[in-house]
């Protein structure tokens, strides 16, 4: 897909003005957060399981080559095929080759961020294959010609009324006067339309939440059951998965599953957790005749051993974006590529380069909520800081930012001058804002005051207050 990350600032400004988007985002701010908190609180072992999940993935990453070898061996023993893809282009071509051999015209798809990463739908359309997204959210945005704005709730930016408009436009086979007021009617309509597509499809494509080395198994986790129909009914099932999805054993994946659904939707378990190993067997009355796994690298092997290795623990639950004030304000599309929110701010520069996506690691208040809720304990703010450093080293920041940092550094290296200047500044602002208590606009701070007022300082800096308190404490002690 087209990379729009370089225009993050404009994208955000547009997003803030988008009335429908702001209405839709309102529900993200509360729903996801409450549900996750309740689910986590209801399991006393939750925090220990997070540690365990982190340790499992760290162990895997350290032995990734060996686990991939074992995984491949087991897939092949079960009659499946593994295709190693170094780049997105390799993956697309490998998938296309399978589809051509099977004369595939229609391909159903389960929800998969990795096929967004490799731009599979556009590629299919250019090559005469019709991709049909079957997850309700993915189906809605496919009708709208959009990309997901959230990794687990792809249509979270769309309101119910917009879905109704899209269905009326696309489903011309139904009575135009039908009543579509209720969300449940919309769901029923999508169910009816898509049901036939599962049977029409020649190939079904899913992603994978995990790959198990012990057994050569791929796992998908869904609530709708669309992924299961996608992979069970066509002639072939193609799994597209990146190399870091490996876990050693069935027990290991069970540990991580306990933190996945709770962090994502606040469920103890998603409705369908499906373990697939190879194609249809001799005594099977159903199932795919062929089973293929596309193992995609696309830059991940270079993240190993780097400052960004921890990011490869990510299990794509979406908790970081659900808790991110920046995501809440601008939504997922503003980030300009496949992965939004804090995980996107770290992963995107690794995959497409910081020169293209330097704004993303800067789109953070460093409030730390993403790291606090990440089930895999990925230090997201720390890694965003690393990207900011890379950006600075490579001279990619704007002249204003570099000049501003230069000025700040001059004072920061001279503590007494710094304290004197900030003290003076605070006193001045305190005096100026005395009557109203806030500023509607300030020189050099227009970007801030455009969207909210700046509260007037009460007169003393943090350091002054800190010094006074320490002094008072010492007095008390003496």
């Amino acid at each position: 897909m087209e990379i729009k990350s370089p225009t993050f600032k404009n994208n955000s400004a547009e997003a803030l003005k988008d009335v429908n988007l702001q209405k839709a985002l309102g529900k993200v701010r509360t729903g996801f957060i409450e549900k996750r908190a309740q689910a986590a609180d209801a399991l006393p072992e939750f925090e220990d399981l997070r540690d365990r999940a982190r340790d499992i993935k760290d162990h895997v990453l350290d032995h990734l080559d060996l686990y991939l070898e074992r995984y491949t061996e087991k897939v092949e023993a079960a009659g499946g095929h593994v295709h190693w893809a170094e780049t997105a282009e390799d993956a697309r071509n490998q998938i296309m080759e399978i589809c051509r051999r099977l004369n595939a015209r229609t391909v159903t798809k389960g929800k998969s961020m990795i096929t967004e990463e490799i731009g599979l739908n556009e590629f299919f359309e250019q090559n005469g294959v019709t991709p049909v997204e079957t997850d309700l959210g993915e189906y809605i945005i496919q009708l709208r010609g959009e990309h997901p704005s959230h990794i687990i709730a792809p249509a979270v930016h769309v309101t119910k009324d917009q879905v109704e408009e899209d269905f009326r436009r696309a489903h011309t086979q139904f009575d135009p006067k039908r009543n579509l007021d209720e969300p449940t009617t919309l769901l029923g309509e999508a169910r009816a339309v898509l049901r036939q597509k599962y049977f029409d499809a020649d190939v079904g494509i899913t992603g994978a939440n995990f790959l198990i080395a012990e057994t050569g198994t791929s796992i998908i986790v869904t609530n709708e059951g669309n992924g299961d129909l996608t992979q069970t009914l066509p002639k072939a099932h193609i799994v597209v998965a990146s190399i870091e999805k490996i876990v050693p054993t069935l027990e290991d994946v069970s540990q991580i599953l306990r933190v996945l659904a709770r962090s994502a939707t606040g469920q103890d378990m998603s409705v369908y957790t499906t373990f697939s190993t190879g194609p249809k067997r001799d005594d099977d009355p159903d199932g795919p005749g062929e089973y293929h796994v596309i193992l995609l690298d696309n830059g991940r092997s270079s993240m190993l051993g780097s400052d960004y290795q921890d990011m490869l623990r990510c299990i794509r639950c979406g908790a970081c974006m659900n808790h991110c004030p920046v995501y809440h304000a601008v939504g997922g599309h503003a980030y300009g590529w496949v992965y939004p929110g804090p995980m996107g701010a770290v992963l995107t520069p690794s995959l497409i380069g910081v020169d293209q996506s330097g704004h993303l690691p800067n789109a953070s208040t460093f409030c730390g909520r993403c790291e606090a809720v990440c089930p895999m304990r990925i230090p997201l703010p720390k890694m965003m800081r690393h990207w900011r450093e890379r950006e600075f080293e490579r001279n990619l920041n704007s002249a204003t930012a570099r000049y501003g940092l230069g000025v700040w550094a001059y004072f920061a290296k001279r503590p007494s001058l710094y304290q004197f200047m900030t003290g003076l500044g605070m006193r001045t602002l305190g005096l100026l804002g005395r009557t109203k208590g806030r500023f509607k606009g300030l020189p050099l701070a227009g970007g801030w005051t455009k969207y909210r007022d700046l509260p007037a300082p009460e007169g003393k800096t943090f350091q002054q207050q800190w010094a006074e308190r320490q002094k008072a404490k010492r007095k008390e002690a003496a």
Binding site: E45, H63, D65, P183, T184, I243, K280
Partner: protein, 227 residues
């Protein structure tokens, strides 16, 4: 000979990690990990036995919008299935696979109930499966694919009725894997293992939870408590 994409990816991983693929210690670590099946942290919630375990399974299943019927013998299953269909105003017709446990049940005692054998085709109102196991911690059914219980029965019919023996319930998922290895062998899996926790649902429209997305609209669990 040029290197294959597999060799190139593995080489990149080893270079990035600063490791050698032939390192015996690393290979031993991986082999140990794969054969030891370390359990990790097992939540206390499911660690119950007897009636308490069955109660928890039923409570958790109902908590995710499944309906539950508890009966005391496999012989009562056909009547329980018929009752369920009647309560939902469905036709007395079910699709099921060749599972020997299901086959041994007295379906003939329900003269109005038609049993169609084989995989689901998509037009069925109700399908019946026999679960391999159940997980009390989360009210989850474990269903394995094959001629006995075709996977399509779990997803295509509007109503999915799953029979599970109380004796096959365990507290946690990890205990199920030991059973799977016992039946299918070390490192081997049935083609599909479906962990099913409630009926199909979606919250993709304004995060409003709705049941019956693409899979069954309703899930009915029949727990057989024998002895």
């Amino acid at each position: 000979m040029t290197a294959t994409s597999r060799e190139r990816i593995l080489a990149k991983i080893r270079t990035s990690l600063g490791r050698n693929g032939e390192d015996e210690t690393r290979r031993d670590t991986v082999a140990e990990r794969l054969s030891a099946h370390h359990k990790g942290i097992i939540p206390k919630r499911g660690q119950l036995s007897g009636k308490d375990l069955i109660d928890l399974f039923c409570k958790m299943a109902e908590g995710v919008q499944a309906s539950v019927a508890r009966i005391s013998s496999p012989d009562e299953v056909p009547a329980a299935v018929s009752d369920y269909l009647r309560s939902k105003n469905l036709s007395q017709q079910v699709r099921m696979g060749a599972d020997a446990r299901l086959a041994a049940m007295p379906w003939k005692d329900q003269p109005n109930l038609e049993v169609m054998q084989g995989r689901a085709e998509g037009s069925e109102e109700a399908g019946v499966s026999h679960a391999f196991a159940g997980i009390a911690e989360t009210g989850t059914l474990v269903l394995t694919s094959g001629n006995d219980n075709p996977t399509t029965i779990n997803f295509l019919p509007e109503h999915h009725i799953a029979v599970v023996n109380a004796a096959d319930l365990s507290g946690d998922m990890e205990a199920v894997w030991a059973k799977v290895r016992g039946k299918y062998g070390e490192g081997t899996m049935p083609r599909t293992v479906n962990l099913v926790t409630g009926p199909s649902r979606s919250a993709d429209i304004e995060q409003t939870l709705l049941l019956g997305a693409h899979g069954p609209r309703a899930l009915h669990v029949i727990v057989v408590e024998e002895g």
